[in-house]
Amino acid sequence: EDQVTQSPEALRLQEGESSSLNCSYTVSGLRGLFWYRQDPGKGPEFLFTLYSAGEEKEKERLKATLTKKESFLHITAPKPEDSATYLCAVRTFGNEKLTFGTGTRLTIIP
């Protein structure tokens, strides 16, 4: 059974304080790892897809990286508007489904 674990569950940072969120996975054959951002009362918003170990993607203050067992979402000099819950999900071979982690709730304090 595919498993996705995110840590920490919650993270509070001062504005400008860089950090990383972790997504570790156990799957039979990774076809893609997806990062989403979810604001309160909204649906998840797609951020990145990563396909193979060593791949990196960037968007503004966010950078996602992938190894064979985990992915990191690095947040550089965050701002209060980066506060949200960040979700990761995996897709495996022959499967249209995504398996989601439970998310990291990030709070950036001004």
Partner: protein, 113 residues
């Protein structure tokens, strides 16, 4: 931009009622999905559909059914609502293909009293 629209943001129903949740997407996506989201459990897949009139069970299909009569519309049906079905329900759609992300609506918060 992809637009996935869920018919209600908030819904309150009674135990035993038949409940319909509607979802419409405007991007001609082949795939559509229904999830529920609960604190500490994350998003769990209820049903999905990869074509009109086609459906596949997800991880927690019990107590639910779905209907897809048109490509743009995917309905979730609670046959006889129970209190343990109180949750946030999220609909998503995507193109076919392993590299295609799912795009989500803003959810329906359903309360069963």
């Amino acid at each position: 931009d992809v637009k996935v629209t869920q018919s209600s943001r908030y819904l309150v129903k009674r135990t035993g009622e038949k409940v319909f949740l509607e979802c419409v997407q405007d991007m001609d996506h082949e795939n559509m999905f229904w999830y529920r989201q609960d604190p500490g459990l994350g998003l769990r897949l209820i049903y999905f559909s990869y074509d009109v009139k086609m459906k596949e069970k997800g991880d927690i299909p019990e107590g639910y059914s779905v209907s897809r009569e048109k490509k743009e519309r995917f309905s979730l049906i609670l046959e006889s609502a129970s209190t343990n079905q109180t949750s946030m329900y999220l609909c998503a759609s995507s193109l076919s293909g392993y590299n295609q992300p799912q795009h989500f609506g803003d959810g329906t918060r359903l309360s069963i009293l």
